[in-house]
Amino acid sequence: MEQAELFSKVLKIISPFAKNQDALAKVGMDTHILDDLKVNSARLVDVVLAFEDEFGIEIADEDVDDVNTVGDAVRLIGAKLG
């Protein structure tokens, strides 16, 4: 899957959880999911579970520790998909 397509799908999953619509409008790979998009940290797990369902992958607890930006999520999913 192309990175642009992956980015688009990741964004679609994150969007409902984002409280900062301004940051969402100009989102990029470096946008911080918690700090910029203001996704509730407790809801990050729901975001990651949605990634698992959408892409048919399993993400370990340790993998989530490295997901800070949208780009981190895109790269993690890309790596899982091989």
Partner: protein, 249 residues
């Protein structure tokens, strides 16, 4: 469970020694303050303390205390409900470690000293994921070595005044996943005047405490396992809470 760095392990061991050494100074004063100055009373404390002492005496399996969360001083009240200062002096590993929010409890230098002495490992709630994971690993390491931890599965004070299943964090499940065989002691503590969350209970508050020990298990893997374990704990807490309200009808 990933092994902690030697420096981290030594730092925790040092904190454990410092707390055990200095607790005789602050623990009785804290208990006196709660009992005589604030005039708080805990109904069922005698039974709760006996049950906690029995749990600790009969098994050295890892133990995590999980409680409902209504005020910013719940950790102190729960520790008081589970043991007297004198008992903790004889059983220092039974005084629970806490993981308070760094922003609220450890943003200033004197706060950091206080929480260090009160057996806390501040956590950057909602902060850097790797840093949060580091704190959870430290707590898991302590549990695996016979110490007791105290966490609030709801992740913060309940905004509705009731155990909130929807806002539960998965950190509790993650800790449990890191420590095989870890048991959970669910503690529901509520004052008769506590209808909603607040900074602290009112003066003269009369609390009621209820405990339930169980070992959560899950066949799921990864994040779903952590979430499943967390939901089991929250479910038990909600049941204890329901018991409190049913008894008062």
């Amino acid at each position: 469970m990933a092994e902690l760095a030697l420096r981290t392990r030594l730092a925790l061991q040092l904190q454990r020694v410092v707390v055990a050494t200095l607790a005789p100074l602050w623990a009785p004063a804290l208990a006196v303050g709660m009992r005589l100055v604030l005039r708080w009373r805990i109904e069922g404390a005698r039974e709760a303390r006996a049950e906690y002492a029995r749990i600790r005496a009969t098994s050295r399996a890892p133990l995590l205390v999980c409680a409902n969360h209504l005020t910013m001083v719940d950790s102190a009240i729960i520790a008081w409900a589970l043991g007297s200062p004198g008992w903790y002096l004889l059983h220092p590993s039974s005084l629970p470690w806490n993981v308070p929010d760094r922003a609220n409890f450890a943003s200033r230098w004197w706060q950091r000293i206080l929480v260090y002495l009160m057996k806390c490992i501040p956590i950057p709630r909602g902060g850097d994921r790797a840093e949060v994971a580091g704190v959870l690993h430290r707590l898991a390491w302590l549990l695996a070595r016979g110490d007791v931890g105290l966490v609030f599965p709801e992740g913060g004070r309940s905004r509705t005044g009731r155990v909130e299943r929807a806002t539960s964090t998965y950190g509790v499940g993650r800790i449990l996943g890191l420590v095989p065989g870890c048991r959970v002691l669910c503690v529901h503590l509520r004052g008769e005047g506590q209808e909603a969350f607040s900074r602290a209970p009112r003066r003269g508050e009369r609390f009621h405490v209820a405990l339930e020990l169980f070992e959560p298990k899950s066949d799921a893997t990864g994040l779903r396992r952590s979430l499943d374990l967390t939901r089991q704990v929250i479910g038990r807490l909600a049941d204890l809470e329901q018991g409190f309200f049913d008894a008062r009808r």
